[in-house]
């Protein structure tokens, strides 16, 4: 029998797998990509910061257009629809109604995609459908749908209603797949019909997951809704772009204040409710 060599830490360290060539190659490749992309993007030749405009924006933040921000004075009455409070609420409305539409539309998609409901083959079809819906950028969808339902908040709502189905449907399907089969089998055993099985076997199990998905998506959609205005699909995005391209500093600052307050509030509410659900 051969004498077994004693393995000391020093020897083990010496015999450690040599990966440095592989690591070096990866490193060189990465650095190469970085250098290539910096050079080819021509960032080196970019302009310096335009301090004057930045200062103006700062002044705008100090002196926001209060009448515009609060919808009073010049912006009360007829012109209230062009004021920040109205547009902010419209943005929330687009997100809320759109998310609700998507939450309902996504239920059949969720069941079609859940493997334990329909089996592997049909589930693949559902999955591909959801990926296509999810991948298609919402701004392109808005550009197409603006010809169908016209300029305004309705288009934004429809866009969000369709686009969100992709993600909500996927998360619904995951919730359904994680369901315990015990309660369903028990209901089967006592002879419950399909409606009762859905009401008492599936509903209580998936509802918290469903609601938390919808709340999460609502949070995202508030941000999306405020950007859809860029293509005139309603909400606060259109005046944002208008003010920024025309250098209306105090208007721009008012809109940015409103957006940040709105996004933060919705984020806090949504994460509070989600924490309560789980």
């Amino acid at each position: 029998m051969m004498k077994q060599e004693k393995l000391t830490p020093q020897k083990a360290y010496k015999n450690r797998p040599k990966k440095w060539i592989y690591n070096l190659l990866l490193f060189v490749l990465f650095v190469g990509i970085v250098i290539y992309s910096i050079v080819s993007s021509g960032l080196g030749a970019s302009r310096a910061i335009n301090w004057e405009r930045l200062q103006n924006l700062g002044k705008g933040f100090i002196n926001p257009n209060v009448e515009f921000l609060l919808g009073i004075g010049e912006y009360s009455g007829e012109k209230f629809v062009h004021s920040v409070p109205y547009l902010t609420l419209q943005t929330i409305a687009i997100a809320f109604v759109g998310t609700l539409i998507a939450a309902i539309l996504a239920i059949p998609f969720g069941f079609i995609t859940a493997r334990n409901v329909v089996g592997n083959k049909v589930s693949k079809i559902g999955e591909v459908l959801l990926i296509i819906i999810r991948t298609f950028p919402e701004i392109l969808l808005a550009l197409i749908l603006i010809r169908v339902s016209g300029i305004g908040a309705l288009t934004g709502t429809i866009v969000i209603g369709i686009h969100s189905v992709g993600m909500i449907g996927k998360l619904y399907a995951e919730a359904i797949e994680n369901m315990e089969s015990g309660p369903l089998e028990a209901l089967d055993a006592v002879g419950a019909n399909t409606a009762v099985k859905i009401r008492h076997g599936i509903f209580p199990q998936v509802m918290p997951d469903f609601l938390s998905t919808v709340l999460y998506r609502f949070d995202i959609n508030v941000r999306t809704a405020s950007v859809l205005g860029i293509v005139s699909a309603g909400g606060i995005g259109a005046p944002l772009i208008f003010a920024s391209t025309n250098y209306h500093w105090s208007d721009l600052a008012s809109i940015m204040y409103a957006i940040i307050i709105m996004v933060t509030t919705v984020d806090l509410i949504s994460s509070y409710l989600r924490k309560k659900l789980i």
Binding site: S149, L154, S226, M256
Partner: protein, 289 residues
């Protein structure tokens, strides 16, 4: 005790079921779902007023018309299918590469900035509340600013161009990745770190040899994830002033003459790129985890 006999308005609308269990009177708690549903319904109806539907007719028949227009090359540069593909090859594809380039740089810079900040923000490494609390507060503030607002501010500073996009994406990625990273750093096994420190290693050395090996694969996964988000968002950022493919889309659709065939070409390219990227991301993250 007469309190049980007091009936409120709520009791009249939605009476509680009362059971008599061994002489004890027990009220069944009300089902809260119904109240929540009513609340949601009220909010829903209230918010509907903000979505004007008057003077709007939904023209469903327009949908196939638009889609057909997008895939029938008739105007200007894109008069024929050959011209359509040439347009993709000579205009759309280089712009797409430029956009991807911009996203890569933004993600890279943001991720690089995220590393030191996430170390400062993680409870188990920086230990002192005086350090990690302000850093977290700052990061929370950065994360609440939507990317397009960042892009608008960057556009004001740098004008329309790729730099604007890179700056906006850097800040966005910085906020996103710092949070994801410090959360993952807080879950690492601290044993190796402590033993290295007790053997005399400095904090940086201990971090390098005890923590980085644990978080590196996850970090790379997050990097790819952030890159994917940035590519998807780049179309919108282009509209706001980041240049690239979004700007071309804007000119194609708003030049008055509505080059829908060009829009179609752009849509196809963006869709395919995002789809391929998503497949790659899924594959890479599965491999890493």
């Amino acid at each position: 005790m007469n309190a049980t006999n007091k009936s409120t308005l709520l009791d009249k609308i939605y009476p509680q079921k009362i059971y008599n269990v061994n002489g004890k009177i027990i009220k069944k708690p009300r089902n809260k779902t119904i109240f929540i549903a009513i609340l949601v319904l009220i909010i829903f109806i209230g918010l509907l007023f903000f979505i004007p539907t008057r003077n709007i007719t939904i023209k469903f028949e327009q949908f196939p018309v638009i889609v057909k227009k997008m895939f029938s090359p008739t105007t200007g540069k894109t008069k024929s299918w050959a011209g359509w593909f040439l347009y993709i090859k000579e205009t759309v594809w280089p712009l797409m590469l430029e956009t991807i380039n911009m996203c890569f740089l933004g993600t890279l810079f943001g991720a690089t900035m995220a590393i030191p900040f996430s170390i400062l923000a993680s409870r188990n490494i920086s230990k002192k509340g005086i350090i990690y609390q302000p850093v977290r507060l700052f990061m929370n503030f950065i994360r609440t600013i939507p990317t397009y607002v960042l892009a608008v501010i960057a556009m004001i500073c740098f004008g329309i161009g790729l730099l604007t996009g890179v700056v906006a994406m850097t800040i966005f990625t910085f906020g996103l990745l710092t949070k994801m990273l410090y959360e993952i750093i807080e879950t690492v096994d601290m044993g190796p770190f402590e033993s290295l420190e007790s053997a005399g290693a400095t904090k940086i050395e201990a971090f390098r040899y005890a923590v980085i090996p644990q978080i590196l694969p996850i970090f790379i996964g997050y990097f790819i994830y952030a890159f994917e988000i940035n590519v998807r968002g780049s179309v919108i950022l282009g509209y706001v002033g980041a240049g690239g493919i979004g700007l071309e889309l804007d000119t194609a659709i708003s030049e008055g003459s509505h080059y829908y065939d060009r829009v179609g070409a752009i849509v196809v390219v963006i869709f395919l790129v995002v789809l391929i990227l998503q497949g790659f991301t899924r594959y890479a993250r599965r491999k890493l985890q």
